[in-house]
């Protein structure tokens, strides 16, 4: 028989959260290691804080002992019981394993908890039964007993690992250079419904690199969205005299039907026609001649990677209309050859997710289930979905959050590299291509005036696989 717990995933997660973000290591399981007090103590002494879980028919109850113990040590014991999905607790003071495990038949007005493994019975005094909300006052027979070691999800060892990863990611990103130095800065476009956390993501990224929390981009939660200007944010590297190798482009939020970002503007943004601080108009797209319209955008002006940003809590409740918009934009991105990822924010406010879970967010049960839903409903590959928790209200940086933000950013830069590499292939070693696409390659290889034909209204980059 396998040494695996009987707790459901949900129960285990609840219990881990209840005792403060723990991770469980199963040490003893009665049906495998026998219903024997001696065996239990052999397995569980000197193992640090432990939690014992007893399964008695419909009841799941147990004892949390927050200190390492030996057989005769007197240690503080907290009893708990699952009620539906809530946990109730009762602090019964100190006791030693040698007494609560071996003295089932003693007089026990003083003790709140006695266990008899051989007879598979657990007993408590009336008061304790009541406090735990267990609707009976007779000994409970049980069929399984398990003991786990409880470790902090973010103990010293893990924090050290996280800090190392953090420093490495930060250093890598500082010296990152776009594929073959085709450009200096990668442009990442943030797209998504209003209130998804696009502007907050920029603030978070900036904060991580600045070393303290900043709130440059206005963040809001009212339904029309605070950002109605196109903003392209470059961040100065505080440790070097140059900007960081990426620019985050914050757009107006997508809205229902005619509200929000105008769909026709997206193509203009992707091709680099729209400049910083353009005032969006939901009703119509930018037109050539506008002071924010760039006539002959170069490669550096184009979008190199796009991220669909959603609030993880509401992503599965998007309206049909919004879903259709997203799918349409995705086709547009693919047509333009722009690689895209999905960024889910607000993971910190998800039910059951604790700070400790952020260390391994992609294996955290509730998050995993959510990602599968997004994959199924919206049709994005799982590996294209990234998860972050933004800096919104706090003033202190947290390396655990930083690592999530930096990892997401790294995937975006890689995606941009994929885009750039694919572009370059068009011209490598194929002269015919040069001939055919002279006007296209000119867009970014030659200064704009060389290929500009007076009177021609044709935007040269139009023909770049975007027809």
């Amino acid at each position: 028989m396998a040494v695996a717990t009987r707790l459901t995933g949900m129960q285990e997660k609840k219990l881990q959260n209840y005792f403060g973000g723990k991770q469980f290591t199963l040490l003893y399981k009665a049906t495998v290691h026998e219903f024997s007090e001696d065996n239990l103590l052999q397995k569980c002494c000197d193992q640090g804080p432990t939690v014992m879980v007893i399964y008695g028919g419909a009841y799941v109850l147990g004892a949390y002992i927050r200190e390492s113990y030996k057989r005769d040590d007197r240690v503080p014991i907290v009893l708990f019981a699952f009620q539906e999905n809530e946990i109730s607790e009762c602090n019964i003071g100190v006791d030693s394993p040698s007494s609560f495990l071996y003295q089932y038949n003693r007089k026990w007005d003083d003790s709140g908890f006695l266990l008899n493994l051989e007879q598979k019975k657990v007993n408590m005094n009336l008061d304790t039964f009541k406090k735990l909300g267990l609707p009976q006052n007779r000994p409970i027979s049980f069929e399984e007993c398990e003991v786990f070691r409880c470790e902090d999800l973010l103990d010293k060892r893990i924090m050290k690992g996280i800090t190392q990863l953090h420093d490495k990611l930060l250093a890598d990103m500082r010296i990152y250079r776009p594929h073959r130095d085709l450009i200096h800065q990668i442009r990442i476009l943030l797209l998504g419904p209003t209130g998804a956390g696009k502007s907050s993501f920029f603030n978070s990224v900036k904060s991580v690199f600045r070393g303290h929390v900043t709130h440059q981009a206005l963040v809001g939660s009212d339904t029309t969205g605070v950002s109605d200007k196109y903003r392209t944010y470059s961040i100065k590297d505080p440790r070097a005299d140059r900007p960081l190798p990426f620019i985050l482009c914050d757009s107006m939020g997508l809205g229902e039907r005619e509200k929000g970002l105008c769909m026709d503007d997206i193509v203009y943004i992707l091709k680099g026609h729209i400049s910083d601080r353009y005032q969006f108009d939901s009703t119509k797209a930018i037109t050539p001649g506008h002071s924010n319209y760039i006539d002959y955008p170069l490669l550096k002006d184009r979008i190199h990677c796009a991220a669909f940003v959603f609030d993880i809590n509401s992503v599965e409740y998007l309206s049909r209309d919004m879903m259709a918009k997203i799918k349409k934009i995705r086709r547009e991105l693919i047509k333009c050859g722009v690689v895209h990822v999905v960024l889910l924010t607000h993971v910190d406010s998800m039910d059951l997710v604790t700070r400790g879970d952020l260390r391994d967010i992609y294996s955290c049960m509730p998050v995993k289930l959510k990602l599968e839903t997004v994959h199924r409903e919206l049709g994005f590959a799982l590996s294209d979905i990234l998860v972050v928790s933004n800096y919104t209200s706090e003033w202190e940086l947290d390396p655990v959050k930083d690592v999530l933000i930096l990892s997401a950013l790294r995937q975006m830069l890689w995606a941009a590299d994929d885009f750039l590499e694919d572009l370059l292939l068009e011209e490598t070693g194929r002269c015919i291509w040069w001939y055919r696409h002279l006007e296209v390659s000119a867009v970014w290889l030659l200064p704009a005036w060389i290929c500009w034909v007076p009177g021609s209204s044709l935007c040269p980059c139009r023909s770049l696989s975007c027809e």
């Binding site: 040494v3 052999q42 990863l165 590959a381 994929d418 694919d422 292939l425 696989s465």
Partner: protein, 437 residues
């Protein structure tokens, strides 16, 4: 003292991956529980498969045992495959490994492993010494003249082993085959010197994982996840352009002499999905890269980029039919008809083909014990036989893969399987050249 492992977090994560995406649960730690065999046995008997780690200054040696620790000696007496590994601090991904049929003896303060009567490794708990025999220490790269003093010994339960008998072979596959396969493919040259680059075309139903396979191959060579080929699901094909993807080694490396061609998926309805009349043009090499496919209208020789006189190097040399393994039981008759039509075209061009079954959940279940080929018991499944017969792909050219679509980092086990499939495709393509008049 806290019962916390000596492994760093990153070592722990790499190890869990190298040992086959398992979880490691610390049960025994010598500095806390004492250097006695009785303490190990107290904590570790009947705990299922375990890995015993011995930390020497910069090296860590591990022993993965499938059979649980036991207080009765008889239980461990039967020789069983045991996985020995070692790695240098912080680079668990580059472990050296050895598999030996060994029996275990735990007595009088010692933990000893024997192979055909010879002692191969022993841990003397009383005086914290490790000794390894010559051949094993050579295999593990642990060079010593005499016994080594170790710092600590820890035992973990290994959770997440699905199939005991196959398990050790599965993880050795990754550690033994991955790097040689990668090296072989990096230096691969087509043996037919009249063609410099081999072209492999992926064909299959919408959403079967064609583009994902291309990304998977690119990712292995690039050493990180790549997303160049657009991937996703929708009612109609996500891939709407005909694309020829070259493969590059590393970030700044050279292009390898093969490329993978991606096309729109096949759809059971007429006028949806890849246009059947486009297929002969693709196979012959008339279709240019980045051609925007139209489900209703095939490319015509009048198209400005049409390659009217394709040379041998422009044409397709190997076709891989890509099919979701979960769908083979309910391929619609219309889809079957389309696939048969495709197969006819492929056959008439004399192009060799393979069958690639994607979206398996546990690749290694399908593989033979000692090689990366599909296991007989799997290939004899009537549905797989049926599909391979329908597409006239010999069963030895039928493969399974699990694409890189549901994780965020590379995994040596997946790498190995993807590289293996690619190599077989190249071999099949070479047969095509040898068969040329």
């Amino acid at each position: 003292m806290a019962v916390t492992t000596r492994l760093t977090w990153s070592e722990e994560k790499s190890l869990q991956k190298m040992l086959g995406n398992v979880s490691l649960r610390l049960l025994y730690k010598s500095s806390v529980h004492g250097n006695k065999t009785s303490s190990i046995l107290d904590k570790c008997t009947c705990q299922g498969p375990t890995v015993t780690m011995i930390y020497i200054r910069n090296t860590t040696v591990g022993i993965l045992m499938l059979r649980p620790y036991s207080k009765t000696y008889d239980h461990l007496k039967r020789p069983t495959p045991t996985f020995y590994f070692s790695y240098q601090r912080n680079i668990a991904t580059e472990m050296r490994t050895e598999v030996l049929e060994t029996e275990t003896k735990i007595a009088s303060g010692q933990l000893v492993f024997y192979s055909s009567g010879q002692e191969v490794l022993s841990v003397c708990l009383n005086d914290t010494k490790l000794s390894i025999n010559d051949s094993l220490s050579k295999a593990l790269g642990v060079y010593t003249r005499s016994d080594i003093n170790y710092l600590e010994c820890e035992v973990f339960r290994v959770e997440g082993i699905e199939d005991d008998t196959n398990y050790i072979r599965k993880i050795t596959r990754a550690t033994k085959h991955r790097n040689p396969l990668l090296a072989e493919l990096r230096t691969y040259k087509p043996c037919a010197d009249f063609v410099s680059k081999i072209r492999i075309l992926l064909l299959g139903p919408v959403g079967s994982g064609k583009s994902s396979f291309i990304n998977s191959v690119k990712s292995v060579f690039q050493g990180r996840l790549t997303r160049q080929a657009p991937v996703g699901s929708d009612v109609t094909s996500i891939t709407e352009q005909y694309r020829i993807y070259p493969i590059k080694y590393g970030n700044y490396g050279d292009y390898l002499p093969f490329s993978l061609c991606d096309s729109m998926g096949l759809h059971e309805k007429e006028g949806v999905g890849l246009c059947m009349d486009d297929i002969p043009y693709i196979l012959k090499g008339c279709m240019p890269d980045r051609y925007q496919l139209n489900p209703n209208k095939p490319i015509t020789p009048n198209h400005p980029n049409f390659i009217s006189t394709p040379s041998l190097k422009d044409s397709i040399h190997c076709v891989a039919y890509v099919i979701d393994i979960n769908s083979i039981n309910d391929l619609s008759s219309k889809m079957v008809a389309k696939l048969k039509q495709v197969q006819k075209e492929v056959l008439s061009c004399g192009i060799a083909c393979v069958l690639l079954l994607t979206k398996v959940t546990n690749c290694s279940e399908f593989l033979q014990d000692n090689s990366l080929n599909m296991d007989k018991s799997m290939t004899s499944q009537s549905q797989i036989m049926h599909v391979s017969k329908m597409l006239s792909v010999p069963i030895y050219n039928t493969f399974v893969v699990e694409n890189y679509t549901s994780e965020w980092e590379l995994d040596p086990l997946k790498d190995t399987q993807i590289l293996f499939v690619l190599r077989q495709m190249l071999r099949v393509a070479e047969d095509f050249f040898e068969d040329l008049p």
